[in-house]
């Protein structure tokens, strides 16, 4: 196990810059999730840590040792690929033991490690099969098994669950978390799925356009997003964003349709400055007392709760409630937004204290 330090990392392909200077410290035994939309540079960063992409500028250290010049094989890391990348001409046991055979480990040691890993992952009965005779979920497990047979300094996961169907993804997500709890290995996990990020991470690194947007514990990112990107990316259904201005006199937010939303406290923002107000759908209170009354535009029952689309504050306002709302389209309902649950962002999209 080891810590990983990423300092001022840049990556360009010719004249196209993909990463614009990323700093990141991953503590020993920590599970860090890099999350962001496609093309944000998260996979590139992971591949640079693995040694599969050259580093344009900056430094990467694994366990306090600079690895910029080291080949992947000398970095002592394990990686699980999105495509699994199983060796098709080798059996499951052959796939899992390949790294140990390359290190000329003894036969008994290899058999012991492989069967231990197979037992952990429920692959005991499949060891003599070839990858093509396995289901998607089993292939995924073999890819994991290949990583855990040796005790590497760190595990790297490159969207390992993206090729699985929803139910299997949920199950494997749980297994990866359980595995991390038992092994306590330093792990970096790349995904574009914010649910995976929220559920797995000790810390989330939210990335966009080659820059780190925010680093923090999952609930920190959820409760205090540092900017509009993080606010919009984390959470499903996504946060409502209202355009408008800040009115200092009575600490209210004036939306584009001139409705005033009380903020409950003063913000470090100039009077009349344009701003964006963020409200999570689950914090929009529907029915009961409200500050405006809004017509229902669309009702989406999820079984788990109900998503209501309302016309309010001059925009489409989503509200999520655990109740089974029987609202009809066209009905009006009262809407309230609790001041302590609001997020205010300035014109540059940065959170206002």
């Amino acid at each position: 196990m080891a810590s990983i330090d990423v300092t001022a990392i840049r990556k360009s392909y010719g004249s196209i810059a993909v990463l614009h200077g990323v700093d990141l410290t991953i503590r020993d035994g920590e599970f860090v999730v890099l999350v962001g939309p496609s093309g944000c540079g998260k996979s590139t960063l992971l591949r640079m840590i693995a040694g599969l992409e050259e580093i344009t500028a900056g430094e990467i250290q694994i366990g306090g040792v600079r690895v910029n010049e080291l080949q992947p094989k000398d970095r002592d890391i394990a990686m699980v690929f999105q495509s699994y990348a199983l060796y098709p001409h080798m059996t499951v046991a052959g796939n899992m033991s390949y790294s140990l055979r390359l290190r000329r480990a003894g036969k008994e040691l290899i058999v012991g490690k492989v069967s231990a890993a197979a037992a952990t992952l429920g692959l005991d009965t499949l060891l003599e099969r070839r990858p093509r005779a396995l289901s998607g979920g089993q292939r995924q497990r073999v890819a994991m098994g290949r990583a855990i047979v040796r005790a590497p300094k760190a595990f790297l996961f490159d969207e390992p669950l993206s090729n699985l169907d929803a139910r299997l993804r949920e199950q494997m997500r749980g297994e990866i978390k359980r595995l991390h709890q038992s092994l306590g290995a330093t792990s970096i996990y790349v995904t574009h799925d914010q649910i995976e990020a929220m559920t797995l991470a000790d810390r989330i690194v939210a990335m966009n356009a080659g820059l780190v947007q925010q680093v923090g514990a999952p609930l920190d990112l959820y409760d205090r997003p540092a900017n509009l990107f993080v606010a919009g990316f984390i959470g499903s259904p996504a946060m409502n964003m209202l355009g408008g201005t800040y009115r200092a006199a009575d600490t209210t937010f004036v939306a584009h349709d001139n409705s005033a939303i009380p903020l409950g406290r003063a913000y470090a923002c100039e009077d009349g400055a344009p701003a964006t107000l963020g409200i999570r759908p689950e914090h929009v209170a529907v029915g009961g007392g409200g500050i405006v009354s809004a017509p229902v535009d669309l009702v989406e029952p999820t079984g788990f709760g109900t998503i209501l689309h309302l016309r309010a504050f001059g925009t489409d306002l989503k509200a999520f409630t655990l109740e089974r709302k029987t609202a009809q389209v066209g009905e009006t309902t009262n809407v309230a937004v609790p001041p302590e649950r609001l997020h205010l962002f300035d014109v540059d999209g940065v959170r206002i204290a």
Binding site: S83, R103, R139
Partner: protein, 276 residues
């Protein structure tokens, strides 16, 4: 249902006609090779002679230089096939996986070599090989064949490598292999169908090559069998029977070769490597 059956019949009939059309010359080759000389002209257009004999085969094996030509051809074709396949595998892998300076121009130059009519190049190549003592030698022929086959074989191998996911050797390198070891242990085994196809293609190309063999080789000692076949054409007559018998025998190694490699040609080994 009716239409379906008629469609199937028409489909099979079309395939059958094509196969008959394509294989008929081979059949004729076989037929003439077993037709005794006295019947060759009297029963010219019969589908099968009234009497068959292996006299041409015996004659060709015992009284002509054909066994020598045959050995020469095997040496030249097999050496060419192996050398070309090794070079093309390495070059094709580089073109498939690496970005390097001058890659574009290397590809352009390799394509360019494929655009010249070979006849144009016979004289300069003869001029170059002659002071090196490589004319009238099997080595010279191998050098020339290798040079002419490497570009196409490289593109062929490149397309096979392109079909193998890059993730596989990256996984191997992370598992602790060098790039060359990953190439040998992971990528090459998966490229066996491609290697077999390349070997087969180059072997048959070299086996049936006539132009350079004719121009660079003058003595019977270093003649390959296509050149040898021409020796059955004399000033006054053509020994059709012997020529065809030689031709039938010349088919044998090509058939054997394809029998050996067809297992790899049809095998889709990469199935199951990545999500499919």
């Amino acid at each position: 249902m009716r239409r379906f059956i008629i469609g199937t019949i028409a489909h099979r009939l079309a395939i059958f006609l094509y196969v008959v059309f394509a294989l008929f010359p081979l059949y004729w080759l076989l037929k003439v090779s077993v037709t005794p000389n006295d019947l060759l002209y009297s029963e010219g257009v019969r589908m099968w002679p009234s009497r068959t004999s292996f006299e041409h085969f015996t004659f060709v094996l015992e009284h002509s230089d054909f066994p020598k030509f045959f050995t020469n051809s095997v040496i030249v074709s097999a050496s060419t096939a192996f050398i070309v396949t090794i070079l093309a595998s390495l070059a094709g892998y580089a073109l498939s996986r690496f970005q390097f300076r001058g890659k574009y121009w290397i590809v352009v130059l390799m394509l360019l070599t494929q655009m010249f009519p070979l006849v144009m190049l016979v004289a300069p190549i003869f001029k170059m090989l002659s002071p090196l003592g490589l004319t009238n030698s099997l080595t010279g022929l191998i050098v020339v064949y290798v040079a002419f086959n490497v570009p196409f074989a490289t593109f062929l191998m490149q397309s096979f490598f392109d079909g193998i996911p890059k993730d596989l050797e990256e996984a191997a390198m992370i598992d602790g292999a060098t790039r060359f070891r990953a190439f040998r242990q992971i990528i090459l085994p998966l490229t066996l169908p491609g290697i077999a196809a390349t070997l087969g293609f180059v072997f048959t190309a070299a086996w049936s090559e006539l132009l350079f063999a004719l121009m660079l080789i003058s003595g019977a000692d270093a003649s390959t069998f296509p050149v040898g076949l021409l020796s059955f054409v004399s000033k006054f007559s053509v020994d059709f029977g012997q020529m065809m018998a030689a031709g039938v025998m010349a088919l044998i190694p090509a058939c054997l070769f394809f029998l050996l490699i067809q297992r790899f040609l049809v095998q889709g080994l990469t199935a199951g490597a990545v999500k499919g």
